[in-house]
Symmetry: C2
Subunit: 551 residues, 2 copies
Amino acid sequence: MTTMSILQQYRLKYRPHLPPILNHLTDLKPVYEPYSSIAPNTLKPLFPETWGQQAISFAKGDAAPHNPLKVGVVLSGGQAPGGHNVITGLYDALQRLNPNSRLIGFCDGPGGIVQNKAIDITGDLLKGYRNQGGFDIIGSGRTKIETPDQFTAALKAVSERDLDALVIIGGDDSNTNAAFLAEYFKKNRSKTRVIGVPKTIDGDLRNEFIEISFGFDTACKTYSEMIGNIARDALSAKKYYYFIKLMGRSASHIALECALQTHPNMVLIGEEIDQEKKTLQDVTRDIVELIVNRAAKGKNYGVILIPEGIIEFIPEFKQLIAELNVLMSPDQPHQQKIDSMDDAAARAGYIEKLLSKEAVHCFNGLPLEIKSQLLLDRDPHGNVQVSKVESERLFMETVKKELEALAKAGKYKGKFSAQPCFYGYEGRSALPSNFDSNYCYALGHTAALLADAGANGYVCYVRNLSKPVEEWTVGGVPLTGMLYPEERQGKSKPVIKKALVDLTGRPYFQLKAAAPSWADNDDYCYPGPIQFAGPPDLADTSPIILKDLKD
Amino acid sequence: MTTMSILQQYRLKYRPHLPPILNHLTDLKPVYEPYSSIAPNTLKPLFPETWGQQAISFAKGDAAPHNPLKVGVVLSGGQAPGGHNVITGLYDALQRLNPNSRLIGFCDGPGGIVQNKAIDITGDLLKGYRNQGGFDIIGSGRTKIETPDQFTAALKAVSERDLDALVIIGGDDSNTNAAFLAEYFKKNRSKTRVIGVPKTIDGDLRNEFIEISFGFDTACKTYSEMIGNIARDALSAKKYYYFIKLMGRSASHIALECALQTHPNMVLIGEEIDQEKKTLQDVTRDIVELIVNRAAKGKNYGVILIPEGIIEFIPEFKQLIAELNVLMSPDQPHQQKIDSMDDAAARAGYIEKLLSKEAVHCFNGLPLEIKSQLLLDRDPHGNVQVSKVESERLFMETVKKELEALAKAGKYKGKFSAQPCFYGYEGRSALPSNFDSNYCYALGHTAALLADAGANGYVCYVRNLSKPVEEWTVGGVPLTGMLYPEERQGKSKPVIKKALVDLTGRPYFQLKAAAPSWADNDDYCYPGPIQFAGPPDLADTSPIILKDLKD
């Protein structure tokens, strides 16, 4: 048994604020509306049952009885603060609609559906999880329901459990999966409707219909607390450059939001590097330029933010990875040869001879340690594990080398001492902010309403999130409407596209306008730890990047 | 200019709570009391002017006029949350005692005294720093005032500035230095009195007179927030072992406090490892045992806390370091030879032949990367930089190796995947907790009172810290009374001893009593982010390890 901290106990008592419409829960009627699907019609044949549905919102109607529902819920993929509140919101709303409704939770992710492993979610159980972090009430997992056998098993599970609806809390992949399950269940005459809930701290599940996924707010605030603390320490000691890597998969939303919250001296934005086709050396030189300029002002300290997925945006790096994946595949003799070598330099020398000229250029710019990571840390399919490349250390090394060369040439007289940081796991299971607590509780309610309305193949939305809760609106949009064909392993597959940072959007412009001053001066902002009590401008704020939506 | 976050702005308005006695500031009179010095009389000849002074507390007397004072203040060493509040407390108290008093701040640490570089500290300047983190108002530094020239320069600076008192905010070394400066100034007929303030997040400046140094509370709460978040993530994903290194120099106070706050599966306590004379292999096996036992219960995740100074407590490691320091000293040819080698394995092989049997045993147990750190990352004196050894990665590697061997022997069937974390710089400049804000503000007031009372060579104290502020008491004890002769580089030097974790103390017993359950079960506690508003049991708590003092 875990012991509850004082703050956890106080948070248990927090009552999430609901958008006004949800106060009339039992009197609401669904309103069907046309909306602008972004999915091309070429995908239609894949979804004969669920294509072309209308969007759903809710309006106050007459009080009417609601049938008891049996609903299953599952947490899919990486943790995000607020997951427990989606479940409590779902439970509370189902109970309000009809006290005989039941909620069950599939254990440890979609694998729990396939294996039909579930527990009853009761009010008693939920007592310990209200407004709490983590996904531990039922666990999460990364199993994908992909094979025909898995689909059959999932159908069997929801049928045996006699579920009216299945709520899938997940990211882009899980919601794509939800679209296919919805189609499959309907095709097989199952009564189980599938409803998705947009989750991911990465912020890349974001489109015309979803303003932001839940968890992003708390994760960014947690990282920004740390970044602010580090920046103040840098300014106080005037000794170190901090190279701070931030979680967030491929897109740079987290880095952008954290930068807007903390005003570091520099932030790398993957999407910008991609657009400008920068090489590793270009990026290194950008950082070096900053450091040299600051040194000329007597400043040998600073803070640089690096998104986790940065190297995947560097074209020459992408090519290097692609070549390595081919060279080191199990049908080639090279991995075995390399594994037999004791010496990192020899291993690097061996592979170097096999790479294209462009890839060699990139490879040779890497420190030996990173070369080793690329040659040794491989996933079960033999692919390079890009997320394991410690890019914060990579840039520390390349920058150091470049600065040493400049120092020799008399062009740099500063002192360079650097510290690597990585913030990621710290933010995924944190106590959800008031924003995420409220948002998730509303998402849970919305999922219940959609289930009650018989909606199948929908994702919940809560909108107007940059405004106070009193102005939030809720509803659902068809999952098929946000699909897009994407090339994956040579095949075209419909997926929900990962949203990248919009280089024409207001948050990015805001960043670029401030960047020159942030680089030269110490404009650091210190957000401090998330506060749960206090005036709304302190305790109830939403992410800064949301401000470009409605203001 | 930095931009103030909303929370920073709210914190500016916070009014620290003062111990009741300090509300009568202008009416207080010093009370001199005997106390039990822990310094041996052999040190007396070093301090003819300041030896044998009495302790000072304050009692309510008659209102009397106070002379204006001119006081200098300096921040020395690593940042600790609350430093700015010592300065605001000092300033406010000096102003209350006599509005014509003045405060100046020496810039960037004790080096600022030697160079006589200072700024005026005014009410206007302080407006932006009340209850804020960092040391950036005047900066800090690690220069030690040691040489005769430095002593002369310091005397010249305080004399030219016509200072009545010099307040040194620092750790054990800086307060030892303060004792010597006090003696030196008095011997040279300077009117400048020297007063120390106990600062360090490490918690090792702690003795019969000082319950805890400031900053420890905020730093531990900040680290515990992160550790709790990580633990909840571990429990949710059930995938990783987190090896978390915590700052705190040699002593394990921070690790102990954070463990009591978060209940990790395991915490290494350096003092215990030292007492039990454990080898690197012993410690590795302790961790492996935990992992194997948990795997047997189907648990392949967990949280292990590792104090920064851990390896200095492992006797064989200490010997290895000592031998390396001799071998690699500038008068030996080995460093040069090693630097000329391209290959890490060759470098390790070279030095191996020169080590004693015991040191080789330890050296060979290390991963190649750590070996390289020991051979390459050296300070300007050629010494191994122990604090740079990434012990969290060291143990990840040694544990992995041992588990692989057990798996081969069929004795371990778990899955081991580990993540390294390091929390340090994040906690040093954080927004001070209410505890540290109040404590530091009271320390600043106490320093002003001691300066006003003409005390020289004293350290400020605030006691009863585990109780509400209303029960806190304040005063000063002579710095010479807490000195102790210590061997440093073959010479006996009087120093303030670093306090280690007391293996007979209540906090350690508390830890040991809980440890078996923490190891097997998931008793994690999630403290969450520091809250500044709310009921006292949430917002005004003091460190857990303080509880053994008075309860």
